[in-house]
């Protein structure tokens, strides 16, 4: 029997049960209209073939891991290996959430033509989270300093830095199931996974981390199918004119939501976690995300009346400073992280100045101050010298230092009599539309205000087995490792900064 024929037979097994209602069957409902859609089936693959394909990919990948752990190849770059403790803490949750999201899609809204694709994607995502957990396990066994890799899963949940990704993931998977597809398949997967997985994989490879390079490539080999799922879903939605304004709203939201999470992460990783640099992170993003996705992919949607995202220009200009502002936060707040930091050198600053004109003027001072605060005997901690942490955005959980600390767009916004802090027009736009989704999350200050810094590190669990030495260190090889007592001697107590000025954003202004 031909595959297409067999496939149609499987589709014919679809039935509408009489013993429960439509609502009971689907558990959740959607505000989008898919009832009359006739989607194009993106794949015609059976589970048997799917499993064979994935098995083949796994065989190839695990062979690399097995071989490289025996061959004792050159030691990977320590900056990269340390930074990936934080890097990897962000990823597993995304994959696991994506698996859950696909289960919801298949159950609640998927027309039969799309369901098979969603179910396979669900299995893919489980595979990806296993692969990523396995890299973490591998690095824990083989990297010379396993401290930090051993708590990556926990840190993904309690780190103030990882909360940027975590909040985005939770936002994605608790949306309307169709909106989840738009956020996940159209934005995370279509817009960002190429730059993220391919770009990061190439960087991993340049820094001797073959394990991660191979992991990211084998993951990315599944992503094209996910992009096709996303396009099939969007095309089905576009068949019904009533969906157009709903799609526009969702795309406006998720373009910004990904910019402040995946975009921020990618810019940081690609500019600051590497030593061997090729393109700047901004150049990579312009080519892979903005030209390909916002230029090319969006163009296909325009004839249906979909307009470019509301904050597109801001998203592009932000990239001049995003990686540097994020690095300032990450390095400045090192005691609440769980890896060794490797500040950039003078030579690297010259490279940054060339790629980001004006860099030194705005960030040079920080790096000099950072250098003066790395010796535990000096009793000076950079976070205190900087004047403490800034406010955090209620939506994206980034500190309010974007696009650049001196021109940050942090603002206060009063909702039902209570003041909330937001980082940008984009996040305020999202907050105003669905404030109830965001008001329950606790900020860093709700949790730690009034505590002395070493107590926070201890409470987070970012302390080595001796019970006193910090996992994080401000240098790769400090003269002496910082302990909780060293931090305590710096006498920094977390204080909530005053709220920024009230918002002047006008949501009705023309796009």
């Amino acid at each position: 029997m031909k595959i297409t024929e067999a496939y149609d037979r499987v589709k014919d097994l679809e039935w509408e049960p009489t013993y429960i209602t439509k609502e009971e069957k689907s558990v959740e409902t959607t505000r989008f209209h898919l009832e009359n859609a006739t989607p194009h089936d993106p794949f015609k693959t059976f589970v048997r073939e799917y499993c064979e394909q994935e098995l083949e990919k796994d065989d190839r990948h695990y062979a690399v891991l097995e071989a490289s752990s025996r061959l004792n190849t050159k030691e990977p770059d320590p900056r990269w290996m340390e930074a990936m403790k934080f890097g990897l803490s962000n990823l597993v949750g995304v994959e696991y959430a994506a698996a859950r999201a696909m289960g919801r899609m298949a159950r609640t809204v998927a027309p039969v033509e799309l369901r098979q694709g969603y179910m396979m994607q669900m299995l893919d995502e489980m595979r990806h989270s296993n692969l990523e957990m396995n890299v973490i396990r591998h690095h824990m066994k083989h990297w010379k300093d396993p401290a930090g890799y051993d708590i990556v899963a926990k840190a993904g949940v309690n780190s103030v830095g990882s909360s940027i990704f975590r909040s985005m993931v939770e936002d994605t998977m608790t949306s309307d199931p169709v909106e989840t597809s738009i956020g996940l398949q159209t934005f995370i997967e279509t817009a960002y996974t190429n730059v993220f997985f391919i770009g990061l994989s190439s960087a991993a490879s340049r820094h001797g981390d073959d394990m991660l390079a191979s992991t990211l490539l084998t993951i990315q080999s599944d992503e094209a199918r996910h992009m096709a799922n996303g396009w099939a879903t969007l095309s089905a939605l576009l068949q019904d004119d009533r969906n157009i304004p709903l799609i526009q709203d969702a795309m406006d939201k998720w373009s910004w939501r990904m910019h402040v999470s995946f975009g921020t992460g990618n810019l940081l990783f690609a500019d600051y976690f590497v030593r061997d640099r090729q393109e700047s992170a901004k150049e990579m993003m312009m080519r892979w995300v903005f030209d390909d996705f916002y230029g090319g992919f969006y163009q296909k949607l325009e004839k249906f009346g979909i307009k470019p995202p509301k904050f597109l220009d801001q998203m592009i200009s932000d990239q001049d400073w995003t990686s540097h502002s994020t690095a300032l936060y990450l390095f400045g707040a090192w005691p609440v992280f769980f890896h060794r930091f490797d500040p950039i050198s003078g030579e690297e600053m010259e490279w940054f100045e060339k790629k980001y004109p004006g860099f030194y003027n705005y960030f040079g001072q920080f790096w000099e101050a950072y250098g003066a605060c790395t010796d535990a005997d000096e009793k000076k901690i950079i976070l205190k010298e900087l004047g403490g942490l800034p406010n955090f955005c209620q939506v994206c959980h980034r500190p309010t230092i974007f696009p650049r600390p001196d021109i940050n767009t942090g603002r206060s916004y009063v909702h039902k009599g209570k003041n909330y802090i937001l980082c940008s027009d984009g996040c305020e736009h999202i907050f105003r539309k669905e404030a109830d989704r965001y008001i329950v999350s606790k900020s860093f200050y709700d949790l730690y205000e009034g505590m002395e810094l070493s107590q926070i590190t201890q409470q987070l669990g970012y302390v080595r087995d001796d019970g006193k030495t910090l996992m994080a260190q401000p240098l790769l090889e400090p003269k002496r490792m910082w302990t909780l007592d060293d931090v305590k001697r710096c006498e920094y107590v977390v204080k909530r900064p005053p709220p920024p000025p009230l918002s002047t954003y006008n949501p009705d202004a023309a796009r």
């Binding site: 064979e52 094209a224 163009q299």
Partner: protein, 342 residues
């Protein structure tokens, strides 16, 4: 060495080299097959082979398993033919979707008019035989056999696709060019000429985005065809057309463009002279077309660019469009090659 690939049930055939993938060869031959990632990862181009062997040497064909290969399935984006191959397309394919947008054919035309529009640019009108029609897209080109030689020359259509009983071309007369010399010396109304086509992917995207057109020299032709087509469709898109000429004597068809502009509600035409002569009567823009674009544009984010002209002008103009925020993926161009290098 190349092999024949046959697409069943339609019997459509094309040639594919051993170094080429079947998908790439199909697309090159103007046959549209379905595909996704183009690099073996998604399985969107998986089909059943009825005859012949393929190999995947040097490709990363992950979306096909060995047992699928044993069952005669193939991933067209990664498959190289080892011999002649017969593909059984999935049964929801239609023959129409395989075809290029407009059929390519060779046919005879009669030279109806030749008019010098500048000192070195000639406008040609070629009539089709009575009852014959030519289908093409605005922006496409045809090839024309240079009489008295076995060479073909490529020119873009200057007329709208709706006027399908004729072909209008603009040719730059180059000293010593085989077709140019024919036009200058021997061409006369009534001459029979052979043409083949249409070819080319240069076309306006079906969107509502603002349009920036840039042309130089006889690169005017496809742009005028596009404008005429947009006017025909009663397009309401925002259009600005920059045209660069050396001096007043190189500028032509101002009235024709003005007439098209009256049919387009949001149209601006900005011609510019790069080297105006002392006796040129001219109150328009002067300077390099790139500087003129720079002066007249704010942000071009989201806009689309369509450029036709000599390579140097296109490269410089593309840089300005990007500088103004235009996405690279929204810039399309047709660099014309002089007869010397063609």
């Amino acid at each position: 060495m190349s092999h024949t690939v046959t697409l069943q049930p339609f019997g459509v055939e094309f040639e594919c080299g051993e170094e080429e993938t079947i998908l790439a060869a199909a697309l090159r031959s103007g046959i549209s097959l379905r595909y996704g990632c183009k690099h073996g990862g998604c399985g969107s181009c998986k089909v059943q082979l009825r005859e012949g062997e393929v190999d995947y040497e040097g490709e990363h064909a992950t979306a096909i398993s060995e047992s699928e290969q044993d069952a005669g399935l193939a991933l067209l984006c990664c498959a190289h033919p080892s011999e002649d191959v017969v593909v059984e397309l999935p049964d929801d394919y239609t023959e129409a979707e395989l075809q290029p947008r407009f059929p390519v054919r060779e046919f005879s035309v009669e030279l109806a008019q030749k008019n010098l529009v500048t000192h070195d640019t000639m406008h040609l009108v070629l009539s089709l035989r009575a009852g014959d029609r030519v289908e093409f897209g605005a922006g496409q080109f045809i090839e024309i056999a240079a009489p008295g030689s076995d060479e073909w020359r490529a020119y873009s259509m200057a007329n709208a696709p709706a006027t399908n009983d004729r072909i209008e071309l603009m040719t730059k007369l180059l000293p010593g060019g085989v077709f140019s010399e024919y036009l200058k010396q021997r061409a006369a109304p009534g001459d029979q000429l052979s043409v083949r086509g249409p070819f080319g992917q240069f076309q306006i995207a079906d969107t509502a985005a603002p349009i920036v057109m840039v042309a130089g020299g006889s690169g005017m032709a496809p742009i005028v065809s596009m404008l005429a087509d947009l006017a025909e469709q009663q397009s309401g898109r925002d259009i600005v057309f920059y045209y660069g000429a050396r001096s007043r004597r190189d500028l032509f068809w101002l009235d024709e463009i003005a007439a098209l502009g009256r049919r387009l509600p949001l149209f601006r035409f900005i011609p510019a002279l790069s080297e105006p002569q002392p006796d040129d009567v001219w109150d328009g823009e002067t300077g390099l077309i790139t500087d003129v674009i720079r002066r007249h544009s704010d942000s071009l984010r989201g806009a689309e660019g369509y450029l036709c002209g000599p390579p140097g002008m296109i490269d410089a103009a593309v840089a300005v469009l990007k500088e103004k925020g235009m996405f690279n993926s929204r810039i399309r161009f047709d660099k014309f090659l002089s007869t010397a290098s063609y």
